[in-house]
């Protein structure tokens, strides 16, 4: 069948079973939009800014296991998309971004709306392509989806010049693709896995530390089985929340800069640390030199060899898909006779529980003023802990991560690696489209939400009844916290004057807006949002304590055990 390049692109999306494309039209993608118009299998979500298109596709991918797809035009369309692409790249989210480009003859001529999209995005994509011949489109699209979802997932960009989308050729979608330069490892080395199992069984102070890789690899079930089989304590990073049920006794909470006392102490003083789909990020282990002071054996399971021994020297590296490796570990454990030493384990748990008894997550609640942590706890109650929660970046993000106990994976969507303010609402949009029957809440702050506030319009057009929980403290909270703690209380540019009335703003877009000033009204407002206004977008503007800080805290550059547990520690 002879089709135009644009038609081929859309046919490829159909072949890949893409349900939604998030995008924004423009000159260079007119043929693509024309082809979209003439079919109804792939639905298009028209955002109000390209950054939000990419974030929404990203949120769609995070909340499912599908590849998110975004479509933008050349020049500013592509540059607006870059933050979204980099955000997805840092968290290894499978995505395909299609960008229009000026006609091939105009490339390099400084044409209208021309930028070197492939050049600009090169450092923040898993791979990218400039398609110069219509006959290459189908194979390139196939490769793009294949690269995005296999190995360590990531965003792949396909740049298509306008004339290429107009030219015609015979269309056939390749059934299979093989690339001699790309063969991601799936199964782990069985000898290494044996060594790891041996080491785990001999451990006296074992600790399991898992990250986003467990979520991406859909290995929550496997990590839960392994952890229960061994009876060891476990922590999930910010990206790995929900990988292991937070309500379980073996779960110690999140590690790192704003992690729990018990998780950080157990990480630090473990003698065998099993790291799974995690990368010893600076926000997780603090100062690597301090972390290395305590002798411990580290087993590291990751699909990406370059994540292993990057920041921390590893004793037993295992390259492979997390799920496959965990399956093999469980199989070997179950097949063998050996079990963990019960006495050593009991002594270790005694120590861990002692750390836990410090109750580092307790905050002083108030009848007068709304505490942000209290809002999150109420959100958890009202949604039965079953909602998909997205967040932006800052204090509210940490409170959501700390106080909304995630029992399942793909329920917590946030920008962990890049830390992009403005992802919250677009993530919620993508998640709601992908999970229409699930409650979706966006926990945000008055600063972050304004970075993509225009998407309230998109939410109206596509009837996305997400619930926005704005923890409004009139400050860039995390910046203010650092300024209070480390910059002598000089609040340089962290106070926001002239904020809009968010409730009215939401109403002007046709949504429901509720301002909440008193702690006693928090639960009622949430219930109203999730029941009375179930099918509407509700913007809950919580006026929260301006001075509240996120604790515990490990100061940047400090060791994991050097924690500030509360304001009294200062």
């Amino acid at each position: 069948m002879v089709l135009s390049g644009a038609e081929i692109v859309i046919r490829c999306l159909q072949e890949e079973k893409v349900e939604y494309v998030f995008g924004y039209p423009g000159g260079a993608v007119l043929f693509l939009y024309d082809a979209l118009f003439q079919q109804d299998q792939v639905r298009h979500v028209l955002v109000r800014h390209e950054q939000a298109a990419v974030h929404a596709a990203d949120g769609f991918a995070r909340s499912t296991e599908k590849v998110g797809v975004a479509l933008v035009t050349s020049g500013p369309g592509a540059t607006n998309a870059v933050t979204g692409i980099a955000t997805a790249y840092c968290d290894s989210i499978p995505m395909v971004i299609i960008s229009g480009q000026v006609p091939t003859a105009a490339i390099g001529q400084d044409a209208f709306q021309e930028v070197d999209t492939v050049g600009i995005t090169r450092p923040c994509v898993k791979h990218n392509f400039l398609v110069k011949d219509v006959r290459d489109i189908a194979a390139t699209m196939k490769k793009a989806f294949y690269l995005a979802r296999t190995g360590r997932p990531g965003p792949v960009l396909v740049d298509i010049p306008k004339d290429v989308s107009m030219h015609k050729c015979e269309f056939e979608y390749p059934r299979e693709i093989s690339m001699r330069s790309y063969n991601p490892v799936v199964k782990g080395h069985s000898g290494q896995i044996k060594k790891a199992v041996q080491l785990l069984l001999e451990a006296k102070r074992p600790m399991i530390y898992t990250g986003g890789g467990v979520v991406l690899s859909n290995a929550a079930e496997q990590i839960t089985r392994l952890t229960r089989l061994l009876g060891y304590p476990i922590t999930n990073t910010l990206m790995g929340l929900g990988g292991y049920p937070a309500s379980d006794r073996q779960y110690l909470g999140m590690p790192g800069m704003h992690g729990t006392f018990e998780a950080n102490m157990a990480m630090h003083y473990s003698d065998v640390l099993l790291a799974v789909g995690a990368r010893f990020d600076d926000r997780v282990i603090g100062n690597p030199a301090h972390f290395a002071e305590e002798p411990r054996k580290i087993i590291h399971v990751d699909i990406d060899p370059s994540s292993i021994s990057k920041r921390v020297k590893v004793d037993v590296p295992i390259v492979g898909d997390v799920k496959e490796v965990l399956e093999e570990m469980i199989r070997q454990l179950e097949a063998g006779e050996a079990r963990p030493n019960p006495d050593a384990l009991a002594a270790w748990w005694k120590q861990v529980d002692e750390w836990r008894s410090r109750k580092c997550m307790v905050y002083k609640n108030s009848d007068e003023i709304i505490k942000p942590q209290f809002v999150i706890q109420k959100l958890w109650e009202v949604t039965g802990g079953e909602a998909i929660v997205t967040s932006d970046v800052g204090q509210h993000q940490m409170w959501a991560a700390q106080y909304y106990a995630f029992d399942k994976p793909r329920r917590w969507l946030n920008s962990g690696g890049l830390g992009t303010m403005g992802v919250g609402m677009p993530y919620a949009m993508g998640a709601k489209l992908a999970n229409p029957d699930r409650q979706v809440a966006c926990v945000t702050g008055e600063a972050s939400i304004q970075m993509n506030i225009q998407e309230l319009s998109t939410c109206k057009q596509f009837r996305l009844p997400i619930k926005i929980c704005n923890l409004n403290n009139r400050y860039l909270g995390m910046v203010r916290q650092w300024q209070e703690l480390f910059h002598g209380g000089r609040y340089s540019e962290s106070y926001m004057d002239s904020l809009p009335d968010f409730a009215k703003l939401a109403e002007s877009y046709g949504h429901v807006g509720i301002r909440v000033d008193r702690p006693a009204d928090v639960e009622g407002a949430l219930r109203e949002a999730f029941t009375t206004h179930k099918d509407e977008l509700v913007f809950l503007d919580f006026q929260v304590d301006q001075t509240e800080n996120v604790y515990p805290m490990v100061q940047g550059g400090k060791g994991l055990t050097e924690m500030i547990l509360s304001a009294e520690d200062l």
């Binding site: 050049g119 090169r122 791979h127 400039l130 001699r180 330069s181 790309y182 060899p305």
Partner: protein
Amino acid sequence: MRHVISLLIENEAGALSRVSGLFSARGYNIESLTVAPTEDASMSRMSIVTTGSDDIIEQITKQLNKLIEVVKVVDISEAAHIERELMLIKVRATGKDREEIKRTTDIFRARIIDVTDTSYVVELTGNQGKLDAFIGAIDPSLILETVRSGVCGIGRGDRVLKL
């Protein structure tokens, strides 16, 4: 430590910038980088001379391997290998210098490949040390221009970098 990393990469537009971009983005050193197609025109071979601790070199090879278009990466300096570099050097050759340069050229087993009344172009192949030594042996005021290819490397004996 100095390392010579050889790699095979798909011969596609932008492949070189993926490699050089990786080095600059992650702050790795490049002492020299050479690239040209192999006998299989769909692939290029690159030789990169870099310096760094063992940890850094490990990361460099891993990161290179991670690039989608990179087919194979080997640190050829891990074992017996041969390095060669080509240099073309244009020198002022007048009066008694003409004879002296000719003699030096012979000693280094170099060749004079262009001659004018006042200059020679000398072609010299060898490892970096030999090329440096030749430059050292010529009176600096006579050197008009030098161009060096950067290092090409290959493993000795059975060690083969092939698909």
